[in-house]
């Protein structure tokens, strides 16, 4: 439970409070359905709840991008704790310390991108929720470590969003230069044991 502090959340709460007050007054007093009552009810059933829903959606969407949200399922707790650890040298933690990723490092690295990337990511997220409540909710973390895997190999395209593979500094590395085509085509994973290592230190390789 957290106290919402963003301006959006405060506006949504204010709208919800006003709407609830109007509705409660109506339920208690039950005035006749005159013009003034209709206007008040339009505010209490329409304008303010719609405002709460619209702003709440934006707020909810923003919340789903945060590491705290991803780490709220216990099987992701170790991942989130590692990203929070300022001393960790894992790929995930190093990206979390970068301001471009920050609190949203899970989402930035795991989201699909492209025209329908957000929608595809959210549909995939629903699959995660379904799997969590069907299979993983009751299992202890030690068992989760052995059984949870990415559904498909981590795509290099997600790394290449930022590390374009085109600048001189990147190409100066002999390993990068030698494997350029394979990296771009996804035949060699950036996040593999032979390259930059697994992104999260606790779990096994992405591919079986």
């Amino acid at each position: 439970m957290i106290l919402p502090s963003s301006p959006f959340a405060i506006v949504a709460l204010a709208c919800a409070g006003i709407a609830a007050s109007i509705l409660l007054v109506y339920l208690v007093r039950q005035p006749p359905l005159m013009r003034a009552t209709k206007v008040w009810l339009l505010l209490g059933l329409g304008v303010f709840p719609v405002g709460t829903a619209l702003i709440g959606n934006v707020e909810g969407y923003q919340a789903t991008k945060k590491r705290q949200f991803c780490g709220s399922c216990h099987v992701m707790g170790l991942h989130a704790a590692d990203s929070n650890d300022a001393k960790s040298g894992s790929l995930a933690a190093r990206h979390a310390r970068n301001a471009s990723f920050g609190e949203e490092n899970c989402y930035v690295c795991h989201a699909d991108y492209g025209m329908f990337g957000t929608v595809a990511t959210k549909i995939g997220g629903m699959r995660h929720v379904w799997l969590y409540y069907r299979r993983y909710r009751q299992i202890p973390i030690d068992e989760a470590k052995k059984t949870i895997r990415l559904r498909a190999p981590y795509p290099n395209d997600n790394c290449i969003q930022c590390h374009s593979t085109k600048d001189d500094l990147w190409l100066k590395k002999a390993d990068h230069k030698a494997s350029l085509a394979a990296v771009r085509e996804g035949h060699i994973s950036c996040a593999s044991a032979g390259c930059h290592g697994l992104a999260h230190p606790f779990f096994g390789a992405d591919t079986p």
Binding site: M1, I2, L3, P4, A9, A12, L13, A16, A19, A20, L23, L24, Y26, L27, Q30, L33, K38, L41, L42, G44, L45, G46, P49, V50, T52, A53, G56, N57, E59, G60, A63, T64, K66, Q68, F69, S72, C73, M126, V129, Y132
Partner: protein, 66 residues
């Protein structure tokens, strides 16, 4: 079975809207998967139903006056 009266419909609409608002507020205080999914799905359906029943009632009221 008798159709509900306008007062009963309005009371039901108010209760549905209060339930919807409760879910939306819950997701703001507790931004975890279940509250957020509940607010964005069940909460919105309940809210839409309550507004639709109110608008239907107002329209029926106006039609009856003519």
């Amino acid at each position: 079975m008798k159709p509900p009266t306008s007062t009963q419909t309005l009371r039901a609409a108010c209760l549905l809207a209060l339930a919807a608002l409760g879910m939306m507020v819950w997701s703001l205080f507790d931004p975890r998967p279940v509250p957020i999914i509940a607010a964005m799905s069940v909460g919105q359906v309940l809210g839409t139903l309550s507004l639709a029943s109110f608008l239907y009632l107002v329209a029926a009221n106006l039609r009856a006056r003519r």
